[in-house]
Amino acid sequence: MDIDRLKGPLFAAADAVAFLLTRPTGWAILGGILALGLILRVSGALRDRFLACEASGRRMGAAQAMGVLIRELYGSLASAAAVLPTLAAVLVGAVLLVGVSDSIRVLDQIEANRARISELSAVVRNLERRYRVADVRVLSADGRTARLSLAFYDSRTPAKPVRTQEAEIEGSEVFVDALVLDFAYSEIESGRRVNLALPYRVYGNLQAPAEGRELALLDDQGVPLLYRRSEAEIYGIDPKTYDSRLEELMNLLEDEGARRKAGILRSVFGAAVRRKVRTGDAFTIWVEQTGGLTIKGDSGF
């Protein structure tokens, strides 16, 4: 039996009872019904008496009419007193009906709130999430140059780096530069997409970025190297799905019009994080799902 189908009539009955018992208009309606019943009863009795008088050839006087009125009023009050326990039971039943109905409504509200809390918690989790972009280890640094080991990660396979590379920069501060795709908050909140960062260059504070070390962002087919894998390496993902993801990503990167039209990208820009380095330093670069790159938890690996 579908309980939900009973809710409609139950709520309607409870609403009607609540209206009649708690609203002035409801009281007026109840009073009106009682008054109408009383009027009908008194007028019926007067009419009977009037007909009886007429049949016996007498005229009904005012005192006689008043007597009938008083008797009927008294009779009504006596009848009401006699059915008082029944009335009380009906009243209690009505209150219970309203109580049960309100409890069911509150239970429905609790269920709706629970679903909303679950949904909002997922949004918070998705927004607070960050994905590892790269681990940087400083192999050597003398203030003029620094030699780095970089390990790059894909957000879909965060357990191990997809590539490692060594690079040398000029200066005491290292800049790791990436192409960042920040998606619309609606996409991030729902978990449909994650912001992406594709590292493509490292440089030092003593060299112009254009003179930095390229990290070979794209392969000869224009696909980011980080995302280009052999079939054996994409275990767990259908190769066709993987290829379609790549294609979608490349379309987004290449077609400004398409990405605006799609309304899924908030911004596409270059972002670098920098850190003054000494030999032995290590740090991790993250892409935040609220937007942008950060360095957090230096002892993270």
Partner: protein, 199 residues
């Protein structure tokens, strides 16, 4: 018998009342939790805009731009209009953790053809007797202002406060170049990320 019947009835009524009160209290708690989560989401998406800029011209390997610095209340702190060698414009920030969030101090502007060390230093442009004027417009209290002044002093002396890092945002000529005549804003997020959005 009659007494025990009415007593049972009252007990049932009382139990129902208590259940109803309990359920009402639970919904109140749930509503408070929903409000807390919604506030948290808003806080995570909060954006501060320390810089707005517009590329005026790109010609012969030079890029000319107008850059405005703002405080937390959105008041303009400084305006600079300069030409730099190069095509890609980079805005460098020092990002410092403080009071459970991250603060972004605009540090310098450089380009793809200009080394960061040769870039335009922004610190003197909002140094108001030691206090970083980009953080005016909010009530930090006396201690908070002193702490911000100390942090700013450390950054000016090239000392890195614990947990801080540098963050640079820029355009990429072949993929996403800043369009001349379009106003862009640099947005600092509470979790330390910085991004560029069209204004």
């Amino acid at each position: 018998m009659k007494h025990s019947g009415s007593g049972l009835f009252m007990a049932v009524l009382l139990a129902l009342g208590l259940v109803f009160l309990g359920l009402t209290a639970l919904t109140a708690l749930q509503k408070a939790e929903i409000a807390r989560l919604e506030k948290g989401i808003q806080a995570l998406k909060e954006e501060l805009v320390p810089i707005r800029f517009m590329v005026l011209e790109r010609d012969k390997g030079l890029v000319k731009a107008r850059v405005r610095l703002y405080d937390l209340a959105g008041n303009e702190v400084d305006l600079l209009e300069m030409t730099w060698p190069g095509t890609e414009l980079s805005f460098d920030f020092s990002v410092v953790p403080a009071a459970g969030r991250y603060l972004a101090f605009p540090r310098r502007i450089f380009t793809d053809r200009l080394a960061p060390s040769s870039g335009t230093n922004l610190f003197p442009r909002y140094d108001k007797e030691g206090f970083p004027a980009v953080f005016e417009g909010a009530d930090f209290g006396r201690l908070g202002r002193a702490r911000l002044t100390d942090l700013f002093q450390a950054l000016k002396e090239d000392r890195e406060p614990s947990g801080s890092f540098g963050s640079v945002v820029h355009d990429i000529a072949r993929i996403a170049a800043f369009q001349p005549g379009v106003v862009y804003k640099v947005v600092a997020r509470p979790k330390g990320g910085i991004e560029i959005l069209e204004d």
